[in-house]
């Protein structure tokens, strides 16, 4: 995607989010608080400012697209593989947060480390498995004894 098209998507998203906040604000903020600036008016001003800037950004990007003054991206696009890897990393993070209270810090962290290591290009067992086995206990005992913080040990195994 070229820069102007990307700006068009970005500007459109900001505009849509600002509209969503403006629509939600009457239900999500109480217009009390006394004085000129109330509890609701401050975020409302901000949402209006975002809306104006979002429209300006979108219009600017649309104008550049129409004129054909479309700068190339500084970096080549991610491609489907890059996007897939990013989604996999996010999924790994979410799965970790879901599994942490169930299977405990040690196992969840070892799994996360191994999966992420593969995503970051690890191929040898020394880079994929070794850190996954060594680091979690180190972190666990550092927090337990140095920081007096008890990390989840998991409910599945009692």
């Amino acid at each position: 995607m070229r820069a102007s098209a990307r700006d068009l998507v970005g500007g459109g998203t900001v505009t849509a989010l600002a509209v969503a906040v403006l629509v939600a604000l009457p239900f999500e903020a109480d217009d009390t608080g006394g004085g000129i600036v109330t509890s609701a008016s401050f975020p409302t001003w901000l949402a209006w400012a975002l809306l104006v800037m979002g429209i300006a950004w979108t219009a600017n990007a649309a104008g550049r697209l129409r004129r054909g003054t479309n700068a190339a991206d500084e970096e080549p696009p991610a491609g489907w593989r890059g996007t897939l890897w990013v989604l996999a990393a996010i999924a790994a993070g979410i799965a970790y947060a879901v599994l942490l209270p169930l299977i405990g810090f040690m196992i969840a962290s070892a799994l996360l480390m191994a999966v992420l290591s593969l995503l970051y290009g690890g191929r040898r067992w020394t880079t994929v498995l070794l850190p996954a086995v060594i680091l979690p206990p180190l972190v666990f005992y550092f927090f337990r004894y140095a920081m007096v913080v008890f990390l989840p040990s998991g409910t599945l195994f009692g």
Partner: protein, 502 residues
Amino acid sequence: METILPGIELAFTFSNILLAVVGLAVGIFIGAIPGLNVPMAVALALPFTFALTPLSALALLIGIYKGGTYGGSISAVLINVPGTPAAAATAADGHALARQGKAGKALRMSLFASVVGEIIADIALIALAIPLAAFALNFGPAEYFAVGVFALTIIGLVSGGNLIKGLIAGTAGVLLATVGLDPLIGVERLTFDIRALSGGIDFIALIIGMFAIAELLIQVERSATNRISQRIAEDRGDDPAASRVSRAEFRAAFPAMLRGTPIGILIGAIPGLGSAVAAYLSYGLNKRFSRNPDQYGKGAIDGVAAAESANNAVCSSTMIPLLALGVPGDVITAIMLGALTIHGIIPGPALFDQQADLITGLFILMALTSVLHLVVGWAGLGLFVRALDLPRAVLFPAVFLVCLIGTYVATSSFFAVYTMLGVGVVGYLMLKVGIPVAPLLIGFILGPIIEVKLRQALLISRGDITVFITRPISAILLLLTLAVIVTIIVQSIRNARAGSKS
């Protein structure tokens, strides 16, 4: 004069020096880990101070405070993940230098600037504690609001040449800061009936998500397309000369430290603003005064010096309202106030008369800790730089894990972990469409100060908006803000015209 010798005697003991060294080492270590923050480390060290003498207790706590504030810059430089909010301004140029193979140089400059900032601020503490505290007492809501608005102009300077995208990010940051309970009347705003949001969006989750997770996602995308080498160090093509800070570089960056330190001293002396505000304010102003403003954000060594000197100067100057007025300037000095009280020391103007030896000893100890900071920081430098020799497939998963668990530990909430991941995705998308993330953080930090003080000032003045221009400090700050805004707009128009011609 008669208090100096007893003060030196009190400060220069083996146990004080040892505790300061331990505090510095612990602080640097904790500060360098994203999610683990300095207040947490100071709070954990507090029980250990009960058995110590008051000065020994303060040696440990001040060591952690100073070391931790500097430590945040280590991960900011090496992996673009600020260990502390105060180090976020350092990340821009520090990490750009690391990408050019000059991580050692950036870390050394960060250390030098931190120590220079601390030493000058220690001197200011000794010389100006009472007058500065009295000056800070003149700050009412109108002045705080004006400082907040003035600091917000930094957005124009850190927007990387695209003002509108920077303003969008900054405004979004202020808007995000309004989520949760209204700070004045306690009604919920933009929480969508989610109970966990009533406390607002967690700051730790936001900073780690926006900086660390977004960067880690960019890295995973690059590794998928084989656009990076196995080790960060291989990208850098290190040569030993690139790790050193030459005398000429230090001399060139020294004016930035001299400009940054007074900003840190002033911001630290005003309770509630904090070192992140000082760092960004100093970074922005130094960019404006720099001979090479275009280099800022691309690896300007004086950018690192500007941010670090200011944020570490805050460590000393937050002691000014604490000691002179008994008012803690931030969370850390609030914990220190507790430590002092436990030892039967009640800070305030009377303390300077009643326990002059102790105060002199404390001042000497502050300066001594700053010197020891240089030694301890220098000893650890090689170790930190070697972290970049680890394979990416080991380093980045470890950082990812520390971010997740650091957020959980700091907040004791899984909701904050999900928030951090969500913010990380937003940060990643922002980077993809070219929106800088730093202005969002600045907006998030300054938003509550601006809103609360604006509303308080208007309530006190019964809605009279002239309150902001009839009070001299507020009027001067707002005039400065106007001047900066006009300069930024003129500069943007010139740049746009130059761009269209070329």
